[in-house]
C-alpha cells in the first residue's frame, strides 16, 4: 500500500505493507542507512528515531501506525548538532554501529532535560546497548554537550 511519511521535514511516499516496521521502510525502501538494525525486539536501541520529538524504537513501530507524526532520524540532526560535535571531540565511537541510536536517545534526553544528572543519563540511555563499551565516553559527551547547550540557550 502507498503510505506518506514526513521524515526530517520532507514528505516521502513509500509502498509498503502496513505491518512493516518503520526501520525496514527507512532502510530497505528509502535507503536511509543511518538508522541501524540490532535486535528487532526493542532491546538494543540501535534503531532509535524520534516520532514528534519522542525517542522510539523503529524496529517495533509498524509503518501503518505513524500517520502524520513527524519522524526525525540521525540524518535529520544535520551533522553539527552539539552532541555530534562532542561525540567527535571525545572520540566516542568505536565500531560506531550503535552510535546513531545513542545520539538519537541523547538528543531526546537533552531536549527534555538540558542539564541531565547521572541518574537522568542512566534512565534515558540504558536502553541503548554498546557492545564496544563506549559507555563512559557517551556519558562524557552528553555532559559536555549539555554545557554547550546551556551556553547557547543563554546567548
Amino acid at each position: 500500500m502507498a503510505i506518506e511519511l514526513e521524515i526530517n521535514g520532507v514528505k516521502r511516499q513509500v509502498a509498503a505493507e502496513a505491518d512493516t516496521p518503520l526501520l525496514w521502510v527507512l532502510r530497505d525502501e528509502l535507503h536511509m542507512t543511518g538508522t541501524k538494525y540490532g535486535c528487532g525486539i526493542a532491546q538494543c536501541g540501535a534503531c532509535t528515531v524520534h516520532l514528534d520529538g519522542q525517542p522510539i524504537r523503529s524496529c517495533q513501530t509498524p509503518v501503518g501506525t505513524i500517520g502524520a507524526a513527524k519522524i526525525t532520524t540521525i540524518e535529520g540532526l544535520g551533522g553539527a548538532h552539539p552532541l555530534q560535535t562532542t561525540w567527535v571531540k571525545h572520540d566516542v565511537p568505536q565500531c560506531g554501529y550503535c552510535q546513531s541510536g545513542q545520539i538519537m536517545s541523547a538528543a531526546a534526553l537533552l531536549a527534555a532535560t538540558p542539564k541531565p544528572t547521572d541518574a537522568d543519563i542512566d534512565a534515558a540511555m540504558s536502553g541503548n546497548l554498546c557492545r564496544c563499551g563506549a559507555y563512559q565516553r557517551i556519558r562524557a559527551a552528553i555532559k559536555d554537550a549539555s554545557g554547550e547547550l546551556a551556553v547557547n540557550a543563554k546567548a
Binding site: T33, Q84, C95, I121, D122, A123, Y135
Partner: protein
C-alpha cells in the same frame, strides 16, 4: 520439494592463472594443502596483477598532496585506522590533519599479516605486524620526495627537511608533496631507508593521534555491510537447523512463496534460503516456511550435561575416545604431590559465550560462474577467499573483496569455516548472473549460530610450600578445540596435540614459572557445537583461573594479594618483570587497602598477545548483583602510538569482559541454544558500566596490540574483589545466575 545442495567438483577454472597456481587451486578445492607452499602463496594464487603506483601498496597520494594510507586490516572499532595511518604519517612527515585511511583490497601476496602468513586481522596483531612494514613504507615515500626536491632544486638531499607534508631547503625553497608528486613518482624507491629514532617521534604517542572516523560514525554516514544497497539487489535470510549438526530433511515452500516480495526459496548446505525484496519480506517468507530437520548427527545434550561430562573427564572418570590428554607445561616430578592437607583445590566452570556484535553477521555476494565479489566487513580475508573459492571453483586470490566497516567483531567475523560468507556465496551462486544478494542474519540467527567462546572446565591443585607459596601445581583443562576442527587452523595452531588457544595464559604464566613442580594438561572433547576465538581467546578463562587461584593462595598464606604477586613475579624472573611493573603502576594509581561502605578492591594481572595489563576494580554487591564502579588499568603495550585509542580499548575491553563475567552465557537445552536475543542474553548497559581510568607504562619496546588484552583482566579482578568481601571463592561463571 527438496533439492540436495550441489557438491563442489575438483577442477578450478581460472583463466590466466599460472600452472603452479592451478596446481595450488586444484589441491585446495580437493580439500588438501600443498607442502612447500607458503599460506600467502596459496591464498594469493589467482590474484589480479595490480599496479600499486609509485609509492607501493600502502600509500596513495592525491594531486593535492593528501596522503591516503591503505589499511590491510579490518577497522571494527579497535581504532587501527588511526594507529596504522599515524605510523606512516610519522615516518613520512606527512600532514596528519589531511591523512586519510582506506581499507585495502584482499590480496595475500602484498597484504598478508606477517604474524599469520595470510591476510587477516586478529590476535591483536594489526599494529604489531605492521609496525616495521609501515614505517619502511612511510620512510621510503619520504625519501622519494626528498630526492625529487633535490633533483628539482639541484641541492644535496641531505640538506632537505620535511614537516607536515612540506619539503624545505635552508635556501628558502619549499614545496608541498603535491607540487613534487610527479617528480617523486619518477624516483626509484631506495632499497633501504633510515627510520627515525623513536625519541624523535612527533606524532606517534602524542594526543594528536585521534580517530579518523568519528564524524562519519556520529552522523550515520559510515558504511557497514547492512547499509549496502546495489541496483537489483536481493535480500536473503536462511532457516537454520535448530540444533548444531542438524540437516534439512525436506521443506515446503508453498506458503513462503505466497508472501509478497519473496522471490525464491531453495536449500543450501546449512539450511533453506529465502530470497526476496528486503528484510521484512524475506523474514515473513521464512516464518511461513515448513522445514523438517534430521537430527541424527546433531548435538542433543543440554549444556549442563556436557559440562558434567567435562568435570568427569577432568577427574579421570571419563575418557572420550576422540582425544588424549596433552601436556602443555611439565617440570619436576609431580607424582604424589597433591594428596596432603597442604593442597589448595579449586575448580572453575565457564559457559559458552556469544560474541553478540552490535551488527549481526551479514555479507553481500555476487557470483557469475567462477567470478565472485564480496562486499562486507571482512576480517579473515584470506580464509574467506579460500572458502568462497571452493564454492565457485576459482583460485582464492581471484575472489574480489571490498572491505567495509564492521559493526563489531570481537573475533566473530573471521572464522575458520567462513560460515556466513559461504552461505552468502552459495545463495549468490544459485541466483547467478552477478546479481547482488545481501545475506542478513537476524539477531536470532547470529546468537544461535555457535562459533561461541568454548565452554571450559579447569581443575587446579596447588601444593603450598612452608613459605605459603606454590611448591607444586597441577592443572587440568577440558575444553573444545576449534583449531582441531579445521585442517588449516590445526596446521598453524596445534603442536603436540595442544591447541595453543585452549591454554594460552596458563601456559606461559609467570606463576607456573615461579613454581618448581608443574603438571599441566589439556583434553579437548569434540562435539557439534562450533566454537571460535572470542576477544582475548584463551585468556577469557585462563586469566580468571590463574588470578583467582592466586588470591585464594594469598588468603590461605595470609599475605596481601598484591605482595603475594610481587613475590611470585620476583621468583619468575624475566617472565614476571613486566607483570610487576604494571601491577605496581595500577596499585599506585588506584590506591590499595580498605574502602568505605562495603566496597572492596580486587586486583589482577594478565598478559595476552604480548601486552600486559593490570587492573584494580572496586566492587560491591548491590540488590543481589555485583556492581563495579571504578577500574584503574595499567598497560604495557610497548611504544604507545594512539594513546587515546589505547584508553578506549581498555575502557571497551573492560566493559566487554565485565559483561561476560556478570551475565554472559549461552546454555543448551536438548541441544538448542536458550538465548536468542538481548532479552535473554543479558549484556552490560549504560547504568552498569564502570568508569575506567587507563595508565600506559612508558616503554621503548616495539608496539603490541590493545584490542583484546583489557578484556580478561576484569574477569579476574572482579571475582577477586568479591572474594575479598565474602571470603567465598568463585567457581563458576557468569556471576549473576539467570
Amino acid at each position: 520439494m527438496y533439492i540436495a545442495p550441489e557438491k563442489t567438483q575438483t577442477t578450478p577454472r581460472a583463466s590466466g592463472a599460472s600452472r603452479r597456481e592451478l596446481i595450488v587451486g586444484a589441491a585446495l578445492v580437493g580439500g588438501s594443502l600443498l607442502v612447500g607452499c607458503s599460506p600467502a602463496d596459496i591464498m594469493g594464487s589467482g590474484a589480479p596483477k595490480t599496479d600499486f603506483g609509485a609509492f607501493g601498496p600502502f600509500i596513495k597520494i592525491d594531486a593535492d598532496g593528501a596522503v591516503t594510507v591503505m589499511n590491510k586490516h579490518q577497522e571494527m572499532g579497535q581504532g587501527n585506522h588511526a594507529g596504522l595511518s599515524a605510523i606512516v604519517a610519522e615516518e613520512m612527515d606527512a600532514d596528519w590533519s589531511t591523512v586519510k585511511v582506506k581499507q585495502s583490497a584482499a590480496n595475500a601476496k602484498v597484504y598478508a599479516n606477517s604474524l599469520m602468513g595470510l591476510q587477516g586481522t586478529g590476535g591483536s596483531t594489526a599494529i604489531a605486524n605492521s609496525w616495521m612494514q609501515l614505517r619502511n613504507a612511510g620512510a621510503t615515500a619520504r625519501a622519494m620526495f626528498v630526492q625529487a626536491a633535490a633533483n628539482v632544486w639541484k641541492v644535496p638531499a641531505a640538506e632537505i627537511t620535511v614537516k607536515d607534508g612540506v619539503v624545505s631547503h635552508p635556501s628558502g625553497k619549499s614545496a608541498h608533496f603535491g607540487d613534487l608528486l610527479a617528480e617523486a613518482a619518477k624516483v626509484t624507491p631506495p632499497t633501504s631507508v633510515k627510520l627515525k629514532d623513536p625519541k624523535d617521534f612527533t606524532l606517534i604517542g602524542s594526543d594528536r593521534v585521534r580517530r579518523k572516523d568519528s564524524l562519519a560514525k556520529s552522523t550515520g554516514q559510515a558504511q557497514y555491510t547492512q547499509d549496502v544497497y546495489l541496483p537489483d539487489m536481493l535480500t536473503a535470510v536462511v532457516a537454520h537447523a535448530p540444533r548444531f549438526g542438524g540437516k534439512v530433511t525436506s521443506f515446503d515452500a508453498t506458503a513462503a512463496l505466497k508472501v509478497p516480495g519473496v522471490v525464491d526459496v531453495f536449500a543450501i548446505a546449512t539450511g533453506v534460503a529465502v530470497v526476496g525484496n528486503g528484510v521484512h519480506a524475506a523474514r515473513k517468507g521464512r516464518d511461513a516456511l515448513k522445514v523438517e530437520w534430521d537430527n541424527a548427527k546433531a548435538e542433543t545434550r543440554s549444556s549442563a550435561e556436557m559440562l558434567a561430562d567435562y568435570q568427569k573427564i577432568a577427574r579421570g572418570e571419563l575418557t572420550p575416545s576422540d582425544d588424549k590428554w596433552a601436556s602443555f607445561t611439565a617440570k619436576g616430578d609431580a607424582a604424589g604431590q597433591f594428596d596432603g592437607s597442604d593442597v589448595l583445590h579449586a575448580t572453575y566452570d565457564f559457559p559458552y559465550l556469544a560474541h553478540a556484535t552490535m551488527e549481526p553477521m551479514n555479507c553481500v555476494a555476487q557470483v557469475d560462474g567462477s567470478k565472485c565479489k564480496l562486499t562486507y566487513g571482512a576480517q579473515g580475508h584470506s580464509l574467506d577467499q579460500m572458502a568462497a573459492a571452493t564454492v565457485v571453483l576459482n583460485l582464492p586470490g581471484a575472489i574480489e573483496i571490498e572491505t567495509l566497516f564492521a559493526g563489531g567483531s570481537f573475533g566473530r567475523r573471521s572464522s575458520w569455516d567462513s560460515d556466513y560468507v559461504v552461505e552468502a556465496v552459495q545463495i549468490a551462486k544459485h541466483v547467478g548472473k552477478f546479481r547482488p544478494v545481501k545475506l542478513v542474519w537476524t539477531r536470532e540467527d547470529d546468537m544461535t549460530a555457535g562459533h561461541y567462546r568454548p565452554m571450559a572446565h579447569h581443575a587446579v591443585a596447588v601444593k603450598v610450600g612452608k613459605d605459603g607459596y606454590p611448591a607444586a601445581w597441577r592443572h587440568r583443562v577440558v575444553i573444545q578445540s576449534f583449531a582441531k576442527a579445521s585442517p588449516i587452523m590445526a596446521s598453524m595452531m596445534v603442536k603436540n596435540n595442544v591447541d595453543a588457544t585452549t591454554v594460552e595464559g596458563a601456559s606461559g604464566s609467570p606463576y607456573l614459572a615461579a613454581t618448581p613442580i608443574v603438571d599441566a594438561q589439556v583434553f579437548t572433547p569434540h562435539n557439534p557445537v562450533s566454537t571460535l576465538w572470542w576477544r582475548s581467546v584463551g585468556a577469557t578463562h585462563t586469566a580468571p583461573v590463574m588470578e583467582h587461584t592466586i588470591d585464594q593462595l594469598a588468603a590461605r598464606a595470609k599475605i596481601d594479594p598484591v605482595d603475594y604477586r610481587r613475590e611470585l613475579y620476583r621468583r619468575a624472573g624475566p617472565a614476571g618483570a613486566r607483570h610487576l611493573a604494571v601491577l605496581n603502576l595500577a596499585v599506585e594509581k588506584a590506591g590499595w587497602g580498605k574502602l568505605e561502605d562495603g566496597w572492596t578492591r580486587g586486583v589482577a594481572v594478565h598478559e595476552s598477545f604480548g601486552t600486559v595489563v593490570a587492573n584494580v576494580c572496586e566492587a560491591k554487591i548491590i540488590d543481589g548483583e555485583p556492581r563495579v564502579r571504578k577500574v584503574t588499568v595499567a598497560v604495557d603495550c610497548g611504544i604507545a602510538i594512539a594513546r587515546d585509542q589505547i584508553a578506549a580499548q581498555m575502557e571497551g575491553g573492560t566493559c566487554y569482559g565485565l559483561s561476560a563475567a556478570l551475565f554472559g552465557q549461552v546454555t543448551l537445552d536438548k541441544g538448542r541454544p536458550q538465548q536468542t536475543n538481548f532479552d535473554t542474553y543479558r549484556v552490560l548497559r549504560q547504568n552498569e558500566a564502570p568508569q575506567v581510568e587507563t595508565w600506559v607504562l612508558p616503554s621503548a619496546n616495539p608496539p603490541s596490540g590493545v584490542g583484546e588484552p583489557g578484556t580478561p583482566v576484569i574477569m579476574a579482578s572482579l571475582p577477586n574483589a568479591l572474594f575479598a568481601a565474602t571470603g567465598k571463592p568463585v567457581s563458576s561463571f557468569p556471576l549473576v545466575k539467570a
